[in-house]
Symmetry: C2
């Protein structure tokens, strides 16, 4: 009979991920596909931005010195040179007059009623960046504004970190009603990974071994079959095909999680099949591996706030415990029924969760506690 | 000549969006596609969850009353009924003994060394939900855990708010080097919309009118051509084909933004062509319309924090001004060169932005200021 697991500290498991899993190599990506990718190399301007003096607004390009003395009582006549915002200032001019401070006369000249200074309403060559100015640094998660700025700077493609390719192996009896597979696919995509395939190995040890031995993934998530039961083959299959580094983590939910790698050094994360345990073993270990591979911040992808516990939060000493909480209208937190009682309903009912470290038995009422907040929504209209 | 714009308060423009744009109808979506969709109708359990008493861990199913008195010095022999976590408890049993508290003897019976209570290690029928229990409420932004919970509850599809279909019309001279189109596409996708097409109408008024008159979009973003210049046709085209409700918003950057609708009541947002102005007119008005259509929270999709201004933040009274800021290591904020000087580089260089309302001239040093924070990243490994 398989002995009970002797779970290791979550810190040890996280350190294993951090020491074992490193960033994937870079690849060239066209600008249209860079959104939410991670920049692999810093980008500096190669030419001045803007590359020439440009009009900041629609109006008339003028030689500023020719406008000296112009005013409502002394309109001056100037050559007609209309210009649109963003256009290059034509030779012989150095300023722009706004449309409402001049007007076109039937004779085809412009009557100007204000004196302008040289460079007025002009964006000067190089004022945004000169050659060598840092435009975006390596490690930047590229957002829409980065994309637009880099396109404006003349780039057609950039080097980004390759997206981690993830294989998901299901070891449950019934993959049709399985909810862990779709959940993990969505989590992987949230963390910037690409799910290559979801293999249903069932409770068949050879099928699990074969799925682990297949090449082509940067990381493998094995879901279910992580317990000590006779039908649980995930850990044994990994030990056979490579290295089972850790089996059993002092994390609740998620105690039967495991970590290791195949004999070609692909990291493998064993996630318990119970949905809430699967979710948090993914969040704490699997997601961390995928975020590290993709060059993202390895920390949990939730915003956190320090809030006051309105009631005592209870947890077991010796286990890192994830406690679902409700945030009250006065920004206090209240514990909800735990994952051990209502499973994923706890995650769904909660506004967020508190991570009680293994050395604590919880938090007393009134304690300042870090809460990780789920993304919310409401229906407008 | 077109007169200068008389910009309206941003509050008026936002109110127009809120009064004009409402949530789209619901549609049925299969579970595999519901991630990041908005639930249109509340979902209640139709049967008990779990539907039967289930084992909470791998072990042996037993009749608890038959274990009374069992211990290390008094092992009791029981019929062999192995059970895996999640399996239904077989008839005649009401508890589960963990694997390490019993062992199988060669004679095919189980030797039990601990007394268990009825229901011990059993998840009782209906303990998560009874028929009628609310599983997820209308308006929920569906995250991976919701998807898994709803699959576990037996649902194969749910009613979600239809995703807004967005047409983008570019009115710049050169759509090849355009950066606003890709930026807006990425912003629309971030906000849950689907970009149906990006039409390059150029500075051709008839082409803009035709693009506006085409059916099939829930909202149209017209980019560029919003100024008062002779080549700016966006506002005139909208006035011709429908209704130009607002043109000119006291928002910097973004002054020449406009709002209205086509004659078949499709909302149209006019976004300035200058990239930083395009970005913030989108964030404050276009994105709000798309988020409302899709049933999302209409507020800005950034986390915000109240931080202390390390230096004075200057803005123009009478204009809502977006000020890019840097967050120092001590969580204070410092203003960066404004959008009017360095365009989108300000958004890219910033950790976030402050919105200075139109009735203020900025914030003094030491003021507590709400800052909207950009999503960050760093390279791990």
């Amino acid at each position: 009979m398989t002995p009970g697991l002797l779970p290791l500290s979550l810190h040890v498991a996280i350190s294993w991920v951090d020491q074992t899993v490193s960033r994937l190599p870079a690849e060239l990506a066209p600008m249209s596909s860079i959104c939410r990718r991670v920049l692999a190399e810093s980008i500096c301007a190669t030419h001045p931005i803007p590359v020439a003096d440009r009009a900041l607004l629609d109006g008339f390009a003028v030689d500023a010195s020719a406008t000296i003395g112009a005013g409502s009582y002394n309109p001056l006549l100037l050559p007609l040179r209309t210009i649109a915002a963003g256009d290059t200032i034509p030779p012989g001019t150095d300023a722009v007059i706004a449309l409402d401070l001049a007007q076109i006369l039937p004779s085809g000249v412009v009557e100007c009623i204000e004196t302008v200074l040289p460079s007025q309403n002009v964006e000067m060559r190089g004022c945004v960046a000169i050659p060598g100015t840092l435009l975006a640094s390596a490690g930047t998660l590229l957002l829409p504004a980065h994309m637009a700025m880099l396109i404006s700077a003349g780039l057609g493609s950039v080097m980004v970190v390759r997206q981690p390719v993830v294989r998901i192996v299901l070891t449950s009896d019934n993959s049709v009603t399985d909810s862990d597979g779709p959940m993990c696919r969505a989590l992987v995509e949230r963390d910037g990974g690409l799910v290559a395939n979801i293999l249903a190995a069932g409770r068949n040890r050879q099928a699990i071994t074969d799925a682990l031995a297949t090449e082509g993934a940067d990381v493998v998530l094995v879901i279910g079959g992580t317990g000590p039961g006779a039908c649980d083959h995930a850990a044994a299959a990994l030990a056979e095909i490579g290295n089972l580094a850790i089996h059993g983590v002092a994390l609740r939910p998620g105690e039967t999680a495991g970590l290791g790698h195949t004999n070609n050094a692909t990291p493998v994360i064993l996630l318990p099949g119970s949905p809430a345990a699967c979710l948090f073993a993914y969040e704490m270990l699997g997601g961390r591996a995928i975020r590290r591979l993709g060059g993202r911040d390895p920390a949990l992808p939730f915003r956190s706030r320090v809030l006051c516990a309105a009631r005592k939060i209870v947890s077991a000493i010796g286990m890192t415990e994830i406690c679902p909480v409700h945030v009250t209208t006065s920004d206090a937190i209240e514990p909800l029924p735990p994952f051990s009682e209502i499973g994923l309903m706890a995650a769904v009912a909660a506004d967020g969760f508190v991570i009680v470290p293994e050395e604590r038995e919880g938090y007393p009422q009134g304690a300042a506690v870090t809460v990780y907040l789920y993304e919310g929504s409401c229906i407008g209209g």
